[in-house]
Amino acid sequence: MIKAKYSISTVLLVIVFLISGCSQGKKNENANEQVESEMSHEEGHSMAEEQAEHEHAAGEGHHDEGSMEMSGNESMNWKPGSGNDYTITKDFHFIVGGMESISPKVIQNESGDNLLQLTVDGSSTAFVFHQTYGNVGMAAMINVRQFEGTLKLIHHAKNANNHEFVSIKGKNMKLGRMVDGNEKVFDEGSFDTANDWINLRVSAAGTHYKGYIGNETVTHGHGDKMPDGYAGILLEGSGTVLIKSIETVALEDE
């Protein structure tokens, strides 16, 4: 009887030691990750701050002709370059249509920010960054007030018929993918914003896909993971689209 009591006490003590050991291990791991965490906090600040920083960065200038800012963790902030010799094909390539269907031009707003102005002629046009991505987050500051049609942020793109997207048309958002020309919609939603400029964001993390306007999740859907592909913008419609910046972040697996 006494032996049994001692055995139970021993087992309980071992469990307590194991639990406290695990928790101590986690603490050490957390201490090691503190620097990383601080960096992440800097990276993970609110979209409003991020937006303000983007505008500030434009004032300070990325290099004028080049227009991309890369960081170590595969994130990239693109802003339209200035200078007469700036060509869109320096940063992007077309997978549908070409320069003639969007007439790209860099203009400046009152604050002196460079804006990429696209005058879309009604045909379908898609331009993508040269780099390919797997899991990806993408955010674009756009103004579509004078555009009639559909604007898509595309990713995992191979061509016009094979890509994943978040699209906006008016105040409606769709999240889905095109496979061999067949559209599959994961989720649909509507949003309301009084601003001319909207921060359209999409994330593809594993089998989870989300579409945001600023910080608000508008669509959230699920689908199989697709092979790596390009990320960029697809336009179907006519009118003028202004683009202030595009951010892409390669999302790392756990």
Binding site: I8, A205, H208, N215, L251
Partner: protein, 151 residues
């Protein structure tokens, strides 16, 4: 429902999630004791607490599904958010299945056999591992990426 939330809480999820974690581990402790020293009271207590843990896990799962679209997740945290969501789903499937099996085994009195009792304990330990993984990812979302505390 939202009026009942304290000011600091972004949604109800953080108020619920600790119940399944704590209850499952307490159930596991009772289960372990019932294997070491077979006792009907200990076994009944373990099964009851596993049941409560499962019910609170279901509540945590559904509140999490709602919460994920209400909080701001930075791009760097999206993979963690997805994994947390996936592990939450695996855990809930496991917990519900385990609770059903456990009740059935108890009803049939199969857990009187030591080998069955040990097998059930092992499965309980696996469940603890699953909820620990889910909780770890949830903690990472909050403390590494600031999800739910920066709205």
């Amino acid at each position: 429902m939202e009026q009942l939330l304290p000011d600091w809480a972004p949604n109800v999820h953080p108020l619920i999630i600790h119940f399944p974690i704590a209850l499952w581990f307490v159930a596991l402790l009772f289960d372990l004791l019932s294997v070491i020293k077979p006792d009907d009271w200990l076994k009944k207590a373990a099964i009851s607490i596993y049941g409560l843990a499962t019910m609170s896990a279901v509540a945590a799962f559904f509140s999490g599904k709602q919460a994920i679209d209400l909080v701001v997740v930075p791009f760097q945290g999206e993979i963690t958010a997805s994994s947390h969501s996936d592990w939450g789903q695996y855990t809930i499937y496991f917990f519900v299945s385990y609770a059903i099996i456990r009740l059935f085994v108890f009803w049939k009195r199969w857990d009187k056999k030591r080998v069955v009792a040990i097998l059930m304990l092992m499965l309980g330990i696996a469940g603890a591992g699953m909820i620990a993984k889910t909780a770890d990812l949830g903690g990472k979302l909050v403390y590494k990426y600031g999800v739910g505390i920066k709205n």
